[in-house]
């Protein structure tokens, strides 16, 4: 079995994070995609961003609240307050500004929710209009192409962030191809996003730095060019490493994505090993054991 040969018996260490799902719609798939792309920009890691966000999947008109083409986006932050602050800024600057767009809640609203439309409404300068249908309140803000519609309340849930696969390959091109195969396969898994560029991170990090004030620095053990200078985690013949970070609404979803991604990558030529990053089990409460999830999922 190829999987048995290249899967390292280790685990990914993941953390709880507050999550929300936003459904972005627009008159055409192009503008829904633009809204989602801009909303999820600069949202790779909470190490340096206010939130982690990514596209969950594209939505057909029949799947969206207003019957237009849409994109489902997931966003994660360390607390509900932090998530609300990030989303109010991001929806206000990136979605409200985007032609023909609207923004809808994609999770059940319970006690734990965030107020987004209710804070953006003030942009309407007194001409904003509230509409309530059932339990859902919309805010309609007049803008130059008509109006921007945003739900007031967005449900949140305690998600799981930081699931990861680390792919070790013989060279950059083949390792990247394996990572792309994993990303493509994970795209079919619901309730997860891959927040890094194209779903792939090349600058994996370790905690801390020799420089004061830096919370993270390059993952020296996985940097091929540092062989011989620091303790390396790379087997012989490995010349490139890519990491796929997985954030999800549930632990089960992250586990499923981990298994799907590992299977898709494992069959690619030039891949030497698949491993996961952790902190010895001391930091994150969720331990996603690679061999275990491959058996279960």
């Amino acid at each position: 079995m190829i999987l048995d040969d290249i899967i390292i018996d280790t685990f990914a260490e993941a953390f709880p994070m507050t999550a929300a799902r936003l459904i972005l719609t627009a008159d055409t798939p192009r503008w829904a995609a633009v809204a989602a792309r801009v909303l999820t920009g600069y949202a790779t890691s909470v190490i340096g961003c206010d939130a982690e966000a990514g596209v969950e999947r594209l939505l057909e008109p029949g799947e969206t609240p207003d019957g237009r083409p849409g994109v489902s986006v997931l966003a994660f932050a360390f607390s509900r307050d932090a998530l609300e602050k990030a989303l109010v800024n991001r929806v206000g600057q990136c979605v409200m500004t985007c032609p023909t767009s609207a923004c809808w809640n994609g999770l059940p609203v319970g006690e734990k929710s965030t107020n987004i439309g209710g804070k953006l409404r003030f942009f309407g300068d007194g001409f904003q209009i509230s509409k309530r249908l059932g339990d859902r309140r919309l805010w309609r803000i007049p803008v130059m192409d008509g109006e921007f519609t945003c739900e007031e309340t967005f449900g949140t849930t305690k998600g799981v962030a930081g699931g990861n696969l680390i792919l070790l390959g013989v060279d950059g091109a083949r390792t990247l191809a394996a990572a792309e195969a994993a990303v493509d396969a994970i795209a079919a898994v619901s309730d997860v996003i891959l927040p890094f560029p194209g779903g792939i991170a090349r600058s994996g990090s370790k905690v801390g730095s020799k420089y004061r004030g830096l919370r993270a620095s390059t993952n020296t053990a996985y940097a091929p060019m540092l062989r011989g200078l620091v303790e390396t985690a790379l087997p012989a013949g490995v010349n490139a490493v890519y990491e796929i970070v997985i954030d999800g609404l549930t632990l089960a979803a992250v586990e499923r994505a981990t298994a799907v991604g590992a299977r898709a990558a494992a069959h690619q030529p030039g891949l030497v090993a698949i491993t996961s990053g952790n902190y010895g089990g001391k930091l994150g409460p969720f331990h996603i054991k690679l061999k275990d999830v491959l058996e279960r999922c």
């Binding site: 719609t25 019957g67 509409k131 249908l133 059932g134 008509g146 109006e147 519609t149």
Partner: protein, 269 residues
């Protein structure tokens, strides 16, 4: 002879034993009668809380004030059906008289036939009418629907009379058929969405001003929700995908209300 049907509420009757239901007192003309004298009372295996059968255009206030439970009336009813409801649901398979759902606070009232005047309206002397809930009429309705409505939703699949949404404070009224004159007069805020063949020059007061054409996301959202509830005209409008013309008004009341016309709105300046 008229009958005050206000005790015919699912939240009241369903808490009683069958013999107690039969002894509930109703006002019948100018005297009292027991429910069992006027109705045949029985219990069956249906999952509905209360079913009332028969042609009862002389029985008024059926289901008025209902706060919970489900009532189905199989036939016509008199005035004020479901008035002042705060919750639960009432379905009338026939026609309803005037003031059906008047001063509604919550819950859902469905009239499969036609409704009379004052649907979901305020009572005389009240500053505010309907404050929540959902009224749905599959047929036509009379005049002055949604008078002074503050919150909630009224949907009429057929035609209506004059003065739709008079004095609306907020809330939404959807009409898929024709409307009469003076539509939205004295409206402060709120939304009228008119999908029938409506001529703005005839139906709207002169204190409305056209503000452009669009098919805004919130109307798409409403149509989708209404279609999901089985309102065929909403599904047809989704399929048609028409732009609507928006009018701001009533300018005599501040102009923050809106009327959306899918029909002939272009004649208005």
């Amino acid at each position: 002879m008229t009958v005050d049907g206000s005790p015919l509420r699912p939240d009241v009757l369903c808490a009683l034993a069958l013999d107690e239901v039969a002894r509930v007192r109703l006002t019948h003309g100018n005297r009292a009668a027991e429910l069992g004298e006027l109705f045949l009372v029985d219990r069956d295996g249906t999952d509905l809380d209360l079913i009332i059968s028969g042609e009862m255009p002389h029985v008024h206030s059926i289901g008025a004030g209902t706060s919970a439970g489900r009532l189905r009336v199989e036939g016509d009813v008199g005035d004020e059906a479901g008035a002042r409801m705060t919750g639960g649901s009432i379905e009338i398979t026939g026609n309803a008289g005037s003031w059906a759902g008047a001063a509604l606070r919550g819950g859902e009232l469905r009239i499969r036939g036609n409704a009379g005047d004052g649907l979901g309206s305020a009572y005389d002397g009240d500053r505010v009418g309907m404050r929540g809930g959902f009224i749905r009429v599959d047929g036509d309705s009379g005049r002055e629907i949604g008078l002074a409505m503050r919150r909630g939703l009224i949907v009429v699949s057929g035609d209506t009379g004059d003065l739709v949404g008079r004095g609306l404070v907020a809330g939404s009224i959807f009409v898929f058929g024709a409307v009469g004159r003076y539509t939205g007069v004295a409206m402060k805020r709120g939304t009228l969405a008119l999908y029938g063949d409506v001529d703005a020059d005839v139906s709207l007061p002169p204190t409305y001003v056209a503000s452009g054409r669009a098919q805004p996301p919130f109307l798409r959202f409403y149509l989708k929700e209404l279609a999901a509830r089985g309102i065929v005209r909403a599904a047809e409008e989704i399929a048609a995908g028409r732009d609507l013309e928006r009018y701001n008004g009533d300018l005599a009341e501040g102009g923050k209300g809106e009327i959306w016309l899918a029909g002939r709105g272009l004649g208005k300046p």
